[in-house]
């Protein structure tokens, strides 16, 4: 029974890849997406959500960039899982990203699986899912596609681009690619390049997927199956990196799951094992395994300084953008040192930058959680930036 329900959810997820419960911007042959790998992707589509109202001057738009396994469903109920959006702590009426005040846009990244063109989309040349025939995309490609969407919406300049983790990489890339189009930038728990350790973790995940016989060299959708085990293991390994030892200790410790002594088997005796297994098995119902390969690859390739002759400061040269960089003390995936490197480069280029390191034991995932200092700092930053941008004060 449980397997049947799970199958139903994953079929719903598969439908989302082509016919999403979202707004969709379609770009035909006359407007291809020129990718870093040299391929012109065409036709392609971008699935997106918006919240709030665009003002007459079109000056109050905030673009949110989602993380690796996130999507465009920031503030609404997720169409596949039925759960709340991923950033309800930060987005909504009266929240820092105030939907009463700002027009909030979030789009699924190119290469994703929630309605923007990716490996689960139908390849028009074959009539079958792209699978590994989908070209490898980069963070810069994701941002190019977002810029085309923003053009499509008739918005010249974004009031703010914000995001955490991979979303933060896109924020940095936005300022580097389109400095005049970003008034303020809020990169959270991110880095200007993906570290060797992070690439290593991603490689473990990819190898787990590819080692699953149900992966079928990427053609699993043709076989009406999904590499459940491999994708679940990838998710389990990655999930550990989003937490911290103190948080795991506090939440699970060495507690047993529904038993008071070990079973002397390989069952999930420990709560932490049971938790991870649940994370893995629920993830596979909503996320496409090939998308996981492509999006992790995009993060691995990200090295913004390298695009500018090894000098990260050059990426932000003459940027007038107001920056607020945020890190978390217990984040070991994108440690504070990564944020400091960004701040250092911004200072060197004379940019206008604020930086705060927030004390928490919740690890990398803290950016998704209700962290009072995160809410306070970003709320203050955005209000002040809104004043500087000439947006009217909120009616109270």
């Amino acid at each position: 029974m449980a397997a049947e329900v799970a199958g139903t959810i994953s079929r719903a997820a598969r439908r989302e890849a082509e016919e999403p419960h979202s707004l969709v911007a379609r770009f035909d042959a006359d407007r291809p997406l020129s990718l870093d790998c040299g391929v012109d992707l065409s036709p392609f589509q971008i699935a997106y959500q918006t919240y709030g109202t665009l003002n007459e001057e079109r000056s109050n738009a905030i673009l949110l960039c989602h993380a690796l396994t996130g999507d465009q469903h920031v503030f609404n109920t997720h169409p596949v899982t039925g759960k709340p959006g991923w950033w309800t702590t930060m987005v909504g009426p009266g929240k820092p990203i105030d939907t009463d005040r700002f027009f909030v846009i979030c789009s699924n990244v190119i290469g994703g699986c929630m309605g923007s063109t990716g490996p689960a989309s139908t390849n028009p040349a074959t009539g079958r899912p792209y699978g590994l025939d989908f070209p490898v995309v980069t963070i810069r490609d994701m941002v190019r596609a977002q810029a085309m969407l923003v053009d499509h919406l008739g918005i010249e300049k974004l009031f703010c681009v914000a995001g955490g983790s991979m979303g933060g990489m896109q924020v940095l890339q936005w300022v580097a690619s389109y400095p005049e189009r970003v008034f303020s930038a809020l990169p959270i728990a991110t880095g200007a390049k993906h570290s060797a350790q992070n690439i290593a973790f991603h490689e473990v995940g990819r190898q787990a997927i590819m080692a699953d016989p149900d992966w079928h060299h990427g053609r699993y959708l043709d076989q009406d199956t999904i590499p459940r085990k491999g994708l679940a293991v990838a998710r389990m390994a990655a999930h550990i990196t989003y937490l911290s030892e103190p948080a795991l200790q506090r939440k699970f410790g060495r507690n047993y799951q529904d038993r008071d002594r070990p079973t002397f088997t390989f069952d999930a005796d420990f709560q932490v094992e049971s938790y991870l297994r649940h994370q893995g098995s629920s993830f596979v119902e909503r996320f496409d395994a090939n998308s996981y390969l492509y999006v992790t690859r995009a993060m691995d390739y990200f090295d913004l300084g390298d695009d500018f002759g090894g000098v990260l400061g050059e990426a932000f040269r003459d940027a007038k953008t107001h920056f607020c960089v945020v890190s978390f003390t217990s984040d070991w995936l994108f440690p504070t040192a990564d944020s400091r490197a960004i701040v250092h480069a911004l200072n060197a280029s004379g940019a206008r930058v604020s930086f705060v390191e927030i004390a928490t034991d919740k690890g990398h995932d803290a950016f998704l959680l209700n962290e009072p200092e995160l809410i306070a700092t970003t709320g203050g930053f955005l209000s002040a930036a809104a004043r500087a941008h000439g947006l009217p004060e909120k009616d109270t």
Binding site: R340, S354, F355, I358, A359, T377, G380
Partner: protein, 204 residues
Amino acid sequence: MTDLIRADHKLVADMVEPGSRVLDVGCGDGSLLHLLTATRQVDGRGIEISQSGVNASVAQGLAVVQGDADADLIDYPDDAFDYVILSQTLQATRRPREVMEHLLRIGRRAIVSFPNFGHWSVRRQLFFKGRMPVTETLPVSWYDTPNIHFCTIRDFVDLCHDMGTRIERAVALDAAGEPVRVNAPWWFWNLFGQQAVFLLSRPD
């Protein structure tokens, strides 16, 4: 106390040319940066160690990074600012001389204010009570104080001479926040100045 700090901020503001680029090291809640932005139209940046200070600053729209004068000044490029301000922070740094050197590397000029440990009330407590002074401007006991490198006005002048730093202007404020007589000798300032503000520049 607040009046005193305001007097010191006002003095600093008077030393800053309008429209210049300013870095405030140890900017606290951003009140001096705010004053400089409002009255001198500076393009200001700040460094502050406390999260509450950074939050208060960022919420006002100031560009402030969380950091430490001892550790983070090294990351700032040469000549990045017209003025680097160290307001009531020198005595809390681990290596004051290195910090001073960074100030004048990063900025063409530096403005440094500090509490004067040579003030008569400090001397009186040491002399008569034989105890580390606890005063209105230095209210914390020795074992709790973040102030680990106190100096007197004369000590500071000696350091400037040692470093070859030019003292362009110096003002001492008495306990009432009023400037001590301008043409008084250093010993007089050192006795009656509760705090001092120095405008410094690099040696020629």
